[in-house]
């Protein structure tokens, strides 16, 4: 009894589909008889038997694709009894014994250790920081000292962090110069400013943060951004692009957030869809954006996305800033440094935490009246921090 198997017709044939039997069970088979047709990637090929006998029951149904070596039928010796009705289970072919597994090619990366090895990266960092390599244990190839074997302080300063792939400070300065020059040349700015009382908001934030671990705490900047984003719903003329002589408002609100780069320079990547984020979500986005900006990992799209820009001076700054609109945007909000100031509340002078908000907007698109209402709306929102 022999097996008639799916033949291997080419080194690049892994499997075939049985499409036709040219002989039938019970037919006598001679060596060289064509008994079936198999469809391959090269088309239909007739396949032949290499033994004499009688074709037994087929083991594979027509139309089935099977790997090379799969039995398709038994060929029984003429006169021999038919096999038991249950054919042995069809086994997928194992890797033929003629295919020894190749042992890996020996690869020697490091030559045998001679003296003290220090990787180029470790050498560079050590030289820049005047570090001694004495006493360091090397964990690299052949015991070489590598960058991660150096003290943490030096590694923190290694070029990976400082070099900022993606942001070239010189190029950035040029880009800022071009954009700002264009802005001042083309955009008729008007400016408004308004003092905003942050006492309530600040207190609300302190209460929230008191119950939170540091990683969950929220910064005032996030609160301010959220107020701007929500206020924009009523002032579509502040959100969008002025291009080709016309203003196109943007439905999504992508807040360009000015982030100073250590060592100079400024970028304002977008917090996308800021109005739809929860305060925690917005804080998370802000942290992510700052971290990636500092690491030089911004996506270029993030720099072109913003539909309006917000610039906060933060804790260490001055009372107010007059922004320059980033074209083709049409407005920029500035927040000065909050400071305790005397203020009249219900007829009495009280110390309050005050912050000056400014708006620079494009007079081709909006006018001072609408701008003023926009600042007032931001103020109103900040008085109800629990709604932000």
């Amino acid at each position: 009894m022999g097996e008639f198997v799916m033949p291997s017709l080419g080194a690049d044939m892994d499997a075939g589909t049985l499409t036709e039997w040219l002989k039938h069970p019970g037919d006598a088979i001679k060596r060289g008889d064509v008994i079936a047709v198999v469809e391959t990637q090269k088309g239909a090929i007739e396949i032949e038997a290499f033994e004499e006998g009688v074709l037994d029951r087929p083991l594979v149904e027509l139309g089935t694709k099977v790997p090379v070596g799969t039995p398709l039928a038994f060929i029984r010796t003429a006169g021999a009894p038919a096999p038991s009705p249950v054919p042995s289970e069809i086994k997928l072919p194992e890797t033929p014994a003629t295919k020894p597994v190749a042992p890996p090619i020996a690869v020697s990366v490091a030559p045998p250790a001679i003296g003290r090895r220090v990787s180029p990266a470790a050498r560079k960092i050590a030289a820049e920081h005047g570090l001694s390599l004495e006493g360091l244990k090397g964990t690299g190839p052949g015991g070489a000292i590598i960058s991660t074997d150096l003290p943490q302080a030096a590694r923190a300063a290694e070029p990976r962090a400082a070099k900022k792939p993606g942001i070239d400070l010189g190029e950035m300065r040029k880009a800022i110069a071009a954009a700002m020059a264009r802005s001042k040349r083309e955009i008729p700015h008007y400016y408004l400013s308004h003092p905003i009382d942050l006492t309530t908001a600040q207190q609300w934030l302190a209460d929230i943060n008191a119950g939170r671990e540091p990683p969950e705490r929220i910064l005032l900047a996030a609160l301010l951004s959220k107020a701007v984003a929500l206020a924009l719903h009523a002032f579509p003329e502040m959100n969008g692009f002025y291009q080709d002589g016309a203003f196109r408002p943007s439905r999504p609100i992508h807040l360009g957030t000015a982030i100073a780069i250590r060592g100079g320079g400024l970028v304002a990547p977008a917090i996308r869809d800021a109005d739809t984020l929860t305060l925690d979500g917005l804080m998370a986005a802000l942290r992510d954006l700052v971290a990636r900006t500092r690491a030089g990992r911004l996506r270029s799209s993030e720099l072109f996305d913003p539909t309006i820009t917000v610039s906060s001076l933060g804790e260490r700054g001055v009372e107010r800033l007059y922004g320059v609109i980033y074209p083709p945007q049409v407005a920029i909000i500035g927040f000065g440094t909050p400071a305790p100031l005397p203020r009249v509340v219900d007829g009495k002078v009280e110390p309050r935490l005050m912050m000056t908000a400014t708006l620079a907007a494009d007079h081709r698109v909006s006018d001072g009246h609408r701008g003023a209402l926009f600042l007032l709306e931001i103020e109103r929102r900040l008085q109800q921090p629990d709604t932000l």
């Binding site: 690049d12 990637q41 020996a106 070029p159 792939p165």
Partner: protein, 332 residues
């Protein structure tokens, strides 16, 4: 009844190349396919099977075994307004046409002072693994990557097999596409509307922070397998598929190596004077001070590819040898 077309379809690398040729010939009446046994036989690797019936013998053009003549004719037709796709059965036979490729296709634009460009695509099979021995198994794409004036592509995925030809046909220069013989049977899913892909950029097929494996074509799957093995040992390998061998996307290579500080270059060509040597030298020139280990290369053994399977496999880069090289860069 509303039926939504499936977003993805099952296909093979071979069918993807065929579909791309079909698209190209359908979209541009000036495009045609020419080469040995592309028509009646259906293509040595069955890539063009069925296209003769679809497009006829004018556009699916069987040629005599005259590599120099039909590649040269492709160059001439391209010069004179056609958009030929020339199939050379394997890179081994392309040596008979090397004169035309190097001395004409690659140089005419320059020699004519920019007057005559050669918008020609040449496809050929490359690589070992089918026990075809020393005259049918070599990976010579690195030689072509040496030649200014040519673009050299190596699709390693079904998406790239589907899309690179169309990208190449938009290029006004001679573009060589190397299809590794072991990839033709590769099955997978691609978007039903897959089409042209960008060329010229390498792809990070797997991100990682510990070591960069740089490879292309038939070795990509081996590098990915090595990366899987390494992941189990808590070594995160980044795998770069070069995709375009000329011009090399050095920015992606250097960016990755600057992060991982280690590189293993995997190339089925022989090590001496290889594309791997070019990549390694580029890393030395541009990222030397970022390195924490010598750059390693895993290439084919310095021997014409032998016929017996065990020797053939031993001659080629393997996932085990790639993983071993990666470990060594980490001092393990």
């Amino acid at each position: 009844m509303n039926e939504i077309a499936p977003a993805r379809i099952k296909t093979t690398y071979r069918e993807a190349v065929r579909a791309a040729i079909r698209d190209a010939l359908t979209a541009d009446p000036k495009a045609f396919l020419m080469g040995e046994d592309v028509g009646h036989y259906g293509g040595c690797y069955a890539v063009s099977k069925g296209l003769l019936a679809e497009f006829g013998p004018e556009r699916i053009r069987d040629t005599p075994l005259s590599e120099s003549a039909f590649v040269g004719a492709g160059i001439g037709a391209a010069l004179n307004g056609m958009r030929p796709i020339v199939e050379v059965m394997t890179v081994n036979f392309s040596l008979l046409a090397l004169d035309q490729i190097l001395n004409n296709a690659a140089t005419l634009l320059h020699m004519s002072g920019g007057q005559f460009n050669v918008p020609l695509v040449i496809r050929m099979a490359t690589g070992a693994g089918r026990q075809l021995a020393a005259q049918h198994s070599h990976s010579l794409e690195g030689w072509y990557a040496h030649i200014p004036g040519l673009k050299v592509l190596a699709p390693a995925t079904i998406e790239d097999a589907r899309g690179m030809l169309l990208g190449a046909l938009k290029d006004p220069n001679p573009v060589l596409i190397f299809e590794h013989v072991m990839l033709y049977n590769m099955e997978g899913e691609i978007a039903a509307d897959a089409g042209a892909v960008e060329t010229g950029k390498a792809a990070i097929r797997r991100p990682g922070r510990d070591v960069t494996l740089i490879t292309y074509g038939g070795s990509l799957a081996k590098a990915m397998a090595a990366a899987e093995t390494l992941a189990k040992e808590r070594i995160e390998a980044e795998v770069i598929d070069l995709r375009t061998l000329r011009p090399l996307d050095t920015a992606t290579i250097i960016g990755s190596v600057a992060r991982t500080r280690r590189a293993v270059v995997v190339d089925e060509g022989w090590k001496t004077g290889s594309l791997a040597a070019e990549v390694t030298a580029t890393i030395m020139e541009q990222a030397f001070w970022e390195l924490d280990a010598p750059v390693a290369r895993v290439c084919s053994a310095e021997v014409p590819i032998p016929y017996p399977r065990h020797l053939e496999q031993a001659a080629l880069p393997q996932p085990e040898s790639i993983a071993a090289a990666a470990r060594a860069t980490l001092g393990r």
